[in-house]
């Protein structure tokens, strides 16, 4: 039960939560559990937790977001790929770094953190289907 996921064993964990602020903690907990299964370090787990929470918060804070957020964690090859999807038709704010008090730049902190903490980040905006953010995190202790 406590054995780490084998490098070659693909495993998929999915979670569907209401797109409301009170459920983001559950998304954090879920992704932390999956990262722990991969034997990620505590710091790496914290990175993934924050990135997922930022992605969920970005969904919730945009007008026109979907009713639900779907979190998908793929543990293939010892790396953790996370997809955060909702049926809203919006993109994510441009990467910004907040060094002053401009509110727009503050709002861009979330995506900046995601890009900084994760190894690969991309997102797709589908006109009819919604928005999906994809993030990949590799453990330094488990190069793939």
């Amino acid at each position: 039960m406590n054995d780490p996921v084998a490098n070659t064993a693909p495993e998929l964990v999915e979670l569907r939560i209401p797109a409301r602020a009170e459920w983001v903690a559950l998304a954090r907990l879920a992704v932390a559990t999956v990262a722990n299964r991969l034997n990620f370090s505590i710091e790496e787990i914290e990175d993934v937790k924050l990135a997922v929470a930022e992605a969920c918060a970005a969904v919730i804070q945009h007008e026109g977001h979907g009713e639900f957020i779907v979190l998908s964690c793929d543990t293939r090859d010892g790396a953790l790929q996370v997809r955060v999807y909702d049926a809203g038709r919006h993109g994510l704010p441009a990467q910004e770094r907040s060094l002053n008090f401009d509110e727009a730049r503050i709002a861009g902190l979330g995506i900046f953190l995601i890009r900084t903490l994760m190894d690969e980040v991309s997102y797709d905006v589908h006109p009819q289907l919604g928005t999906e953010l994809q993030m990949l995190k590799r453990s330094l202790d488990r190069p793939v």
Binding site: I42, L50, A57, I60, Q61, R97, I106, L113
Partner: protein, 114 residues
């Protein structure tokens, strides 16, 4: 999951806001309201103690930045107490270490406000 906010007046005439728990998109409005009430009362020199904060996200950072902006308009300042490396890391990578005074101990944070 929740956030606890405790406000106390320190002997040095500044106020200390103790935060305990997780500051995220759900709990940050409570933090914003508590500190906002203090600023509305004319308290412009604040120490915000994050020693018992286990987690903070960009919405929490936004609240702290907003508070700093408000007190600076009145010549005040906000110093943070934070020795947790995971929390400190967030301030480091966002560059916020350059605009907040961040201290390991509350005494030092209060002293720097004086």
């Amino acid at each position: 999951m929740d956030i606890k906010v405790n406000v106390r007046q320190a002997p040095s005439d500044c106020y200390v806001v103790d935060l305990s728990g997780e500051i995220d998109v759900y709990t940050s409005p409570k933090v914003k309201d508590a500190i906002g009430e203090l600023i509305d009362r004319g308290v412009y020199n604040l120490v915000i103690n994050l020693e018992k904060v286990r987690y903070i996200d960009s919405t929490g950072l936004g609240v702290l930045i907003g508070c700093l902006k408000r007190v600076r308009e009145h010549g005040g300042s906000v110093n943070l107490v934070c020795s947790n490396p995971q929390i400190r890391k967030i301030f480091d990578i966002t560059g916020l270490v350059k605009i907040f005074g961040i201290f390991d101990a509350e005494d030092a944070a209060m002293k720097a406000l004086a």
